[in-house]
């Protein structure tokens, strides 16, 4: 490139330095946001995020529940007293675990969603 043209290009660049910088900065920000969003989606974090719109009820319920459980200390002897303490703590949580039959039932069945009529009940398609 002749020296005159190089000089012209340099002058042009100097004139629009701020614009170029803004464009570059915006592009980098956009790229980083895209990467962050794709990680948010691909990691599954989005599915666990109760702060999203549409999860307000679940958010309120979850906020009510506070985890005050201290648990069993990993330090100390194994004796009758410590084993009884463990037993008592464990039984409490086991009872809680067994008390709710979560995700069971036929909440999405044709019958629950009333997608069958009395006529089709007898010849209903196999339910999953």
């Amino acid at each position: 490139m002749p020296p005159q043209e190089t000089e012209k290009a340099t002058t042009n660049f100097s004139k629009h330095q701020l614009t170029v910088m803004l464009v570059i900065v915006s592009t980098i920000a956009l790229l980083l946001t895209t990467v962050a969003m794709s990680l948010y989606h691909s990691s599954g974090a989005i599915q666990l995020d109760l702060s999203r719109p549409g999860y307000s009820d679940a958010r309120k319920e979850a906020a009510k529940e506070e985890d005050n459980f201290d648990g069993f200390s990993s330090r100390g002897p194994i004796d009758s007293s410590s084993l009884s303490e463990f037993e008592s703590l464990y039984d409490e949580l086991q009872e809680d675990a067994e008390s709710i039959d979560a995700f069971s039932g036929d909440a999405l069945s044709d019958r629950t969603l009333q997608l069958t009529t009395p006529e089709t009940e007898s010849q209903i398609l196999p339910q999953l």
């Binding site: 464009v23 592009t27 969003m37 666990l48 679940a58 990993s74 997608l115």
Partner: protein, 179 residues
């Protein structure tokens, strides 16, 4: 120069594209015309019911997830550590703890997979696309069943650990007699 730069930027953004998610197409199941009619007829009520289910299940996952983490991290692991420290035989308890941890990962990924499809289901206009809605509904049902199975396995491991603990305690108490 700026024009060229702009073109490069636009092309870069275009090549990155919108993050798309390849979801497996749900299996096509035979659907009767009556069912299609019912899907259309009950569209609004069912969308509302599914939305409520989404909220309930989200809460349940948080609630159960937290409980299982407490059982594993605040009870099983500390006891195993104490047993190991005391140089007693806690292999069975440690084995169940490891199974529990693996099963928790399965439960976690099953929930993500289920919730992803549940949200897709809510995006479908069941009045306009009743077949697509029903096909995906069938797939969501499967996912919820898998979630239920993994949840039940976790509860079953909680019971197994309790049983193993009982055996451990019986042996321990027997070994203490006469000491």
């Amino acid at each position: 120069m700026i024009k060229r730069l702009m073109i490069v930027i636009v092309l870069t953004i275009a090549s990155l594209g919108v993050v798309s998610y390849s979801r497996q197409a749900s299996a096509v199941v035979p659907i009767s015309d009556v069912t299609i009619q019912q899907v259309k007829l009950r569209c609004i009520e069912n969308q509302a019911a599914i939305n409520r289910l989404k909220q309930t299940d989200a809460f349940l996952r948080i609630d159960r997830g937290s409980l299982y983490q407490d059982i594993s991290g605040k009870l099983m692991t500390p006891l195993n550590e104490r047993i190991a420290e005391a140089q007693l035989d806690g292999n069975r308890l440690a084995g169940i703890t490891a199974d529990f941890s693996r099963q928790y990962d399965v439960f976690y990924s099953n929930y993500i997979s289920y919730n992803l499809e549940l949200e897709d289901l809510l995006q479908i206009d069941c009045k306009r696309e009743p077949r697509d809605f029903y096909n995906l509904l069938v797939s969501v049902r499967e996912k919820r069943q898998a979630l239920d199975v993994s949840n039940k396995k976790l509860v079953s491991l909680v019971v197994d650990y309790r049983s193993a603990f009982k055996d451990f305690r019986t042996e321990f108490d027997a070994s203490q007699v006469g000491k």
